[in-house]
């Protein structure tokens, strides 16, 4: 089935039709500006050549949908602080190279810190069972990943594992989009919503976008056909002048999302204000552990101390994830900053806009 969404003979005619429909739009400045919120979409758009193909008709802007890219330097410093206390750090691989203000987990490993990279947060349970050290799982991610982290917290509790806690840096989508749209008023013609975040929260939380900002959005998957249909949905809504939320990823995303996953999340977490790289603190844009599970919060348990010092850098990651700039606008791109020697998080993560631009050209 997946193959039909990837190598489908009808894709080319669809893309031609989109181009044709964009050219026929009345009174719209071209290229249209579509923001793809999710980092995985950024990769697909570059990898499948959409960016190049639609060069004169659609400009794609990256959004805040790469969890590593939106993690602030101050939060990276918290991970480094825990590593320096001799704790056993368990993390997703992407975070290792991200620079904090003065170091990175990679540099701490070179100095002897214990850091394990895992595929699933649940792997932290076994790691904690087999060591006497304090184990800290670095919890970054959006709604797609939050149920898994909730599962980790519940299992840690149920299995009475005493030496495992989480550094809770998780973020949620709807309110950062609200924040962004209020800044970018009139500068975006449509939004492509993150497919796998939407699996959990559904398409309903996006209803405010057409209602309050008058722009269409589409929930799209990641295969070329999914993306093509998503873009087509945006263009046809613009042509009709009736912006709405169009779900083109129905095989995975229900309008109400996955209730069981939502219940799992609310059993463990509660909403809070969190700081995003490049944006600062945004109200109710993240989750922290609720009262019942507060003992698993590494920040509270180990009284983490970091400076809120800001190091000046020419890195423009903050502007890139806000849709204001593109990696090619950065003076360090491909010169000083490369995937081997990343200066900012957008070059570290595979789905960061800078890494995707580096890999797939431009």
């Amino acid at each position: 089935m997946t193959d039909k969404f990837r190598n489908n003979p009808e894709l080319k005619p669809l893309l031609n039709k989109i181009k044709h429909d964009v050219a026929a739009l009345d009174g719209k400045a071209l290229p249209l500006k579509f923001m793809e919120v999710c980092g995985t979409h950024t990769v697909s758009i570059l990898k499948f050549g959409f960016r190049h193909y639609f060069k004169d008709s659609i400009k794609f802007l990256s959004g805040p949908g790469c969890p590593v890219c939106v993690t602030s330097a101050c939060d990276i410093d918290k991970m480094i602080y825990l590593a320096q206390q001799g704790h056993h750090i368990v993390t997703f691989g992407d975070l290792i190279k991200v620079p904090g203000t003065h170091s990175s987990l990679e540099k701490e490993i070179a100095k002897g810190a214990t850091v394990d990279v895992v595929y699933s947060p649940l792997d932290a349970l076994n790691i904690a069972r087999n060591t006497k050290k304090e184990v800290n799982f670095i919890a970054v991610g959006f709604e797609t990943t939050i149920p898994v982290i909730a599962g980790l917290v519940l299992d840690t509790y149920a299995q009475q594992i005493k030496n495992l806690s989480i550094l809770c840096l998780i973020k949620t989508m709807p309110n950062v989009l609200r924040f962004l749209l209020s800044q970018l008023k009139g500068e975006i013609d449509g939004m492509i919503m993150p497919g796998h975040v939407s699996v959990i929260i559904g398409s309903e939380p996006y209803e405010f976008i057409p209602r309050e900002y008058g722009i269409p959005c589409t929930v799209a998957g990641f295969e070329p056909v999914d993306l093509g249909l998503g873009i087509q949905a945006l263009v046809s809504q613009i042509a009709l002048g009736s912006p709405a939320v169009d779900n083109r990823y129905k095989r995975m995303v229900k309008s109400e999302g996955n209730r069981a996953a939502q219940e799992l999340i609310s059993a463990v977490f509660q909403e809070c204000d969190v700081a995003w790289r490049g944006f600062g603190s945004i109200p109710k844009s993240g989750l922290c552990l609720n009262e019942e599970f507060i003992n698993f919060d590494a920040e509270k348990r180990f009284h983490i101390k970091v400076n809120d010092e800001v190091v000046q850098s020419a890195c423009i990651c903050g502007d890139i994830i806000a849709g204001r700039k593109s990696p090619i606008d950065c003076t360090l791109f491909r010169k000083k900053c490369t995937p081997e020697n990343p200066i900012g998080p957008c070059m570290v993560s595979f789905e960061g806009a800078c890494a995707a631009f580096y890999k797939y050209g431009e």
Partner: protein, 75 residues
């Protein structure tokens, strides 16, 4: 990082299942997928099944694609 991939369930026991992805067998957590059956597809992220895959809706999406392109090729 939010990428999730469809896996086919091969066997299950309690909260855990063995599932197949690209011919590899992996253990996954199925606690939030109610009554998942053998041979069903689930979307897996970080070792955790987050959703059933609806084959009927997949078919309809492909039909929509054909429809759009047919409408286009008509004079």
């Amino acid at each position: 990082m939010c990428l999730a991939v469809p896996y086919r369930i091969i066997s299950k026991e309690g909260n855990k299942a063995i599932a197949d992805v690209f011919g590899m067998k992996k253990e996954i957590d199925i606690r939030i997928i109610e009554d998942v059956e053998i041979d069903e597809y689930v979307l897996v992220h970080a070792g955790f099944a987050i959703q059933r895959v609806n084959q009927q809706d997949a078919k309809e999406t492909l039909e929509l694609l054909t429809e759009l392109c047919e409408a286009e090729s008509k004079p």
